[in-house]
């Protein structure tokens, strides 16, 4: 695997923010990696573990603990819909369904991942067949006054109405 030089430079810069302990740079490095490669592969875990002189199990422990990190490739554009109370009251379950439909993603049960009560956190992300979009429910995005809210990539959308769904998605091709 070739790590681009500018990514390497950003990784080294991130490590420099933690003069006391390199381990502190774990989350920043995972973010940088995921932003560049889309998800955290086995190779990513092993590379980061070696870089920070950690056992790879410790990095895997982080990747599976923090919901933002993905073990599989998302769609080209990744959608996060807030699931928690205020947004749910404002219609976020319906919003997720509409977004899924508009994005060509096969509907799947509500909540985090399949399997209802006994599933893990494992893989809550569903990807459209053409690989263009992926969607997941996330917990509170801290914009409860303007629900339902969602994020597409890093962009934030508030009080999303039914009409806006296709309009929003059309921006992401």
């Amino acid at each position: 695997m070739q790590i681009p030089t500018d990514l390497l430079a950003r990784i080294d810069e991130a490590i420099s923010h933690y003069p006391v302990s390199k381990q502190s740079a774990s989350l920043p490095l995972l973010h940088l990696w995921q932003e560049h490669f889309g998800f955290i592969s086995d190779e990513a875990i092993e590379w980061i573990a070696a870089k920070l002189e950690l056992e790879p199990i410790k990095v895997l422990g982080l990747v599976t603990f923090y919901p933002m990190f993905r073990r599989k490739a998302p769609g080209k554009h990744h959608i996060r819909v807030c699931r928690t109370l205020s947004c749910a009251m404002a219609g976020s379950y319906a919003l997720k369904e509409k977004l899924s439909k508009a994005a060509g993603i096969e509907a799947e049960g509500h909540g985090h991942g399949a399997g209802g009560g006994c599933g893990g956190h494992g893989d809550p992300v569903t990807v459209s067949e053409d690989g263009k979009y992926s969607i997941e429910f996330v917990e509170c995005l801290a914009s409860c006054g303007t629900g339902p809210v969602c994020m597409v990539n890093d962009d934030f959308y508030e009080a999303v109405s039914d009409e806006e769904v296709t309009q929003i998605l059309s921006k992401y091709q």
């Binding site: 928690t84 009251m89 409860c144």
Partner: protein, 462 residues
Amino acid sequence: MIFANVDREGYTPDIECYLRHGGYEDLRKATTMEPDAIVNDVKASGLRGRGGAGFPCGVKWGFIRRGGPKPTYLICNADESEPGTFKDRYIIHQDPHQLIEGMVISSFALDVHLAYIYIRGEFPEGARILERAIAEAKEKGFLGKNILGTGFDLEIYVHRGAGAYICGEETGLIESLEGKRAYPRIKPPYFPAVLGLYQCPTIVNNVETLCHVKHIVQMGGAEYAKLGRPNNTGTRILCVSGDVQRPGYFEVEVGSLTMGEVINDLCGGLKPGRKLKAIIPGGSSAKVLRADERYKVKEKAEDGSMVDKEIGIEEIRMDFDTLAAVGSMAGSGGVIVMDDTRDMVWTLNNLNEFYAHESCGQCTPCREGSLWMRKITDRILAGGGTEQDPDTLKSVADNIAGKTICAFGEACSWPTQSFVIKFREEFASRSTKPLPLPTPPEFLADRLSEEPTKALTTGSHH
């Protein structure tokens, strides 16, 4: 005060705009003061932490000894994740320098030379804005080496979380900042002010709290303490969501408004034709208040004596002490309003799913109990509620609260405890199946849900 520049016409988050509006003047003032004098001002201000627990900030700061053998760290808790709360996002996005200035002043007072802003991962834009603001402040000499020629050095770095609510708990946050799974630490011995980040003294303060420090320096602690009510000083930002006409955030003097005033005057009241059913007054972890209940509080009479009074939900004053007196809490300032169209089982299940998802899983009661409560409310919603479920729910919550490493135990059990008690009839009417015979649990949940009417018991069990 804190939100003076939020949504202000023409106000931009860059440093030039901030300086035009008097930015970093309070830092200049602070650097002429003795650090202890700043700490004393914060103590005198009566400022209570705005993160949720309402711990007096000055007391927290008072644990720090300047010039100890270990360095002291400051961490800004910007992991805003308490459902119903949405204030920090606006400060960070629209007025980041207010926070930076508050942090530099606090660091100067506490002899901190390395500080981190732990911002939740879902705020990528906020992280970029803060990084830009830090670079600007450094360039202007408000940050970095020899700040304003005083010889005081400070570096601030932005550290992004990655979607874990538990990182809002200060020792979980510290573990996360150390690059570990955010398992909160046991206290004692790991009080952050003694054994915090890298086992060094550490102060963790909420975004809003650190912003207040700037204003306390500006006004002086005693003057600041005149805002609000005794023991509930200053302003605070209320975030209102749910079934009101105009949800939003409002900066008010603590305790200056009642619940009714917040709902009716600030938020335009309920939607047409609806009746108030319930309010969660301080973020999703706060115990729910029922609209048709009467609450007993103590109020100061004109002669100064305390008298008992019975009030309705709309008369509840929005301050730390009153909300505690009516059995809930001011928490993070997130008010979630529910009208009579809301199903309380559905509402609690939504919260239970949140807490089951966010439990770090370190300690037994919360790890096992949060998911159990969710499974029960899931099953009741699916039509599989049994007669014992409301009691089981309540007792599971009771067995979590007060028995865990961190306050998440209370946070996840308070909703269940309060919803089941306050809306008992709603839970009971959905939990009518006779208790089934002992059967391997692997098969029970489905059978209960699939056979909504047929009793599952046979023989002598009932």
